[in-house]
Structures are given as C-alpha cells and as structure tokens.
C-alpha cells in the first residue's frame, strides 16, 4: 500500500472514528457525570437560552463583538471559512464521491481560495494576538499556539496541493496527514468548544436574559 492510499484510506477512517467516538465520549461524560441536576433551576427560560445562542452566532450580536470590530470580522469569517471550506471544497467532494458515491454542492475556485486566505490571515491574527496582547498571552499555554499553527499548516498545504505548488505528492500527503491529526485532536483539545458552546451558552442565557434581566449579549 502506498503512502497516499494509507492516509487516504485507513488513517482517514481512523481520524473520523476518533472524532466521532471522542466527541461522543466527551458529550456523554458531560451528561453522565453531571447526571442529576443537583441544583434545580425553576426560573430557567428556554427562549432566553436560545436567544443567547443566536446572538452569539451572529456577527456583532453580542456586546464583546460590538466593542471589537476587527476581532469580530476576523473571528466570524474564520469560523465560517474553517467549517464551510473543508466540507464544500470540490476536491474533497470528489473524494467523498470516490468513497461513498454521493456528492453535494461545491465551492467555486475563487471562493475556495478566498476562504483559504481568510483562514490563513485569521490564524496569523490569532497567533499574533496571543503573542502581543498581554492578557491573551497570560492565558495561553502551548496548545493554544499549536492549534492555530496546525490549522495554518493544514490550510496552507491544502492550498499548495490544490495549486500544485511545490512537490505535489508529498505536499498532498502532508496535507491529508496533518488534517487527520487536526480532526483527531478535536475531541481532546480546546476545539471541543464547538460541542460545548451551545450547552454553556444556553445554560447562561436561560438564567440571565429573561430571568435576571441581565442580557448576556
């Protein structure tokens, strides 16, 4: 089996298995360990929770975003790009079709390139923020630098492979391998905020906006 087939096949399966099983483990352990609500919330408001989630998904929907224009634009575009690009990139769809025989709507090449640029700029911004903004540096540990660097590598190598810059085959294999590391890391790193965000946000909103009149956005 050649190296490409190894990262393209078994390792990809392994990465997604780790992602799914790991996320399930994280989700279930949250649900199971905190099984009974020891503190009951007679005043919780579901609509408050949902409004809180909505406000924090929309750009400039929350007070911390309104206070920071550049930060908000970059983080919002980054999150859009980092989720949309891998799913709707034509080359990826072709691979899904190869494996499972179904496909979906794809991005145009200029759109894909723009999104890559957004991710690259955003990652550099994030790393720069961690390095130069003192309070951010004070909360950062090694993993907080490594994650944006890893994302940066994944998207840069992907871009190079797609445009056939540099040695094509090694570039492609490196791109796939690093992506798989990234995917497998999701459940065991800060990237898991994608799972916990709706929960913590909803709990917060349920107690604050409607009940206490303290809007949490």
């Amino acid at each position: 089996m050649d190296l490409y087939e190894l990262v393209r096949g078994p390792l990809a399966v392994a990465a997604f298995a780790v992602l799914i099983l790991g996320s399930l483990y994280r989700a279930l352990s949250m649900i199971k360990v905190g099984k009974k609500a020891k503190m009951l919330y007679p005043q919780a408001s579901i609509s408050g929770g949902l409004r809180s989630i909505l406000h924090h998904l929309l750009p400039f929907g929350a007070s911390y975003m309104r206070a920071r224009t550049v930060f908000t634009v970059i983080t919002f575009l980054f999150h859009m790009a980092v989720i949309i690009l891998p799913i709707f990139l034509m080359s990826h769809i072709v691979l899904w079709f190869e494996s499972f025989g179904f496909l979906w709507w794809e991005l145009s090449k200029p759109a894909a390139d723009t999104m890559t640029a957004v991710v690259v700029i955003a990652c550099l911004f994030f790393i720069g923020r961690r390095l130069f903004v003192s309070e951010v540096r004070q909360v950062s540990s090694a993993s907080e630098y490594l994650l944006p660097i890893l994302i940066l590598i994944v998207f840069l190598t992907g871009f190079c492979a797609s445009h056939q810059w540099g040695p094509y085959r090694p570039m492609l294999i490196f791109h796939i391998a690093t992506s798989e590391i990234l995917i497998a890391l999701i459940p065991f790193s800060r990237l898991m905020h994608m799972l916990f965000f709706p929960f913590s946000r909803a709990y917060m909103g349920a107690e604050h906006s409607r009940v206490l009149g303290a809007k949490d956005w």
């Binding site: 080359s91 056939q164 492609l172």
Partner: protein, 137 residues
C-alpha cells in the same frame, strides 16, 4: 478478429469526423486531451492528458469494455458492444440523469476507481491523486 472490425469502425468514425469537421479528434490517437469546456464551462482543474494507447495495452485482457459501455434499456444494464465505442460525453452530461452519473463523476469513477482498485490488488496502475491526472502545465 476484432482488429478488422475495429479498423473499419475507425475508418468510419474518421470519415464522420471529417464530414462533421468537429476539429476534435475521435480517432484512437496516442493521447486525448479531456478538456470539456463545452460541458463544464470554466474548469477548476487543468485538463487531463489521457494516454489511450497505454490503456489499450495495459487493459488488453479486460478489453475495451473496461471503460466503454452503453446503457441497455431492455436489460437495464451497462453493456459493451464491440465496435460501438463512444465518447463518455455522448451520454454523460453536466448533470446526472437517473442512475447515470454526470460526466465528471463518470470519469472519476472509471479512472480513479480502476486505478485504486488495481493499486489495492497490487497490479500495475495509474495515478490516484487529483494533481497527477490534472497536472498544471
């Protein structure tokens, strides 16, 4: 036996081509450039230079039916009729039609599918990655 048959067909197709003056070569040339701007419009990837002769040779055991086929309405199956080889885009278009995949998927299924299968069976095979079939000039 098939040689003569093929030869006749070849002459027939050539004549037809000349008649229609389509400019694209349908004949069994060494290499075909598979660039279907007429189907895809603007293409995301560079055109594929398809070495037909090399495939003929490599697939001499399987025969032309390894790639060439038509859909038989009666038996609802893909069948290969010798001497009736057509271009992929004769049937496969931009959009899938029923069970018939779109042109891009038809190519990918035939080419990469076969290459990967052969690789898996540790046989002589062709490229399996995007850029190896769609190299930037």
């Amino acid at each position: 036996m098939s040689f003569f048959n093929r030869k006749f067909k070849f002459i027939g197709w050539s004549l037809l081509c000349l008649l229609l003056q389509t400019g694209t070569a349908f004949a069994q040339e060494e290499n075909y450039v598979l660039a279907h701007q007429d189907v895809f419009g603007k293409m995301q990837r560079p055109a594929v230079h398809f070495p037909h002769a090399a495939h003929e040779e490599a697939l001499s055991d399987e025969g032309c039916g390894a790639c060439h086929h038509v859909f038989d309405e009666q038996v609802k199956k893909l069948v290969y009729t010798e001497g009736e080889e057509q271009e992929c885009k004769t049937c496969h278009g931009l959009k899938p039609a029923g069970t018939s995949p779109a042109l891009r998927e038809a190519y990918h299924k035939s080419c990469t599918g076969c290459h990967r299968l052969k690789k898996k069976n540790i046989e002589k095979s062709g490229p399996t990655t995007c850029g190896e079939c769609h190299p930037k000039k």
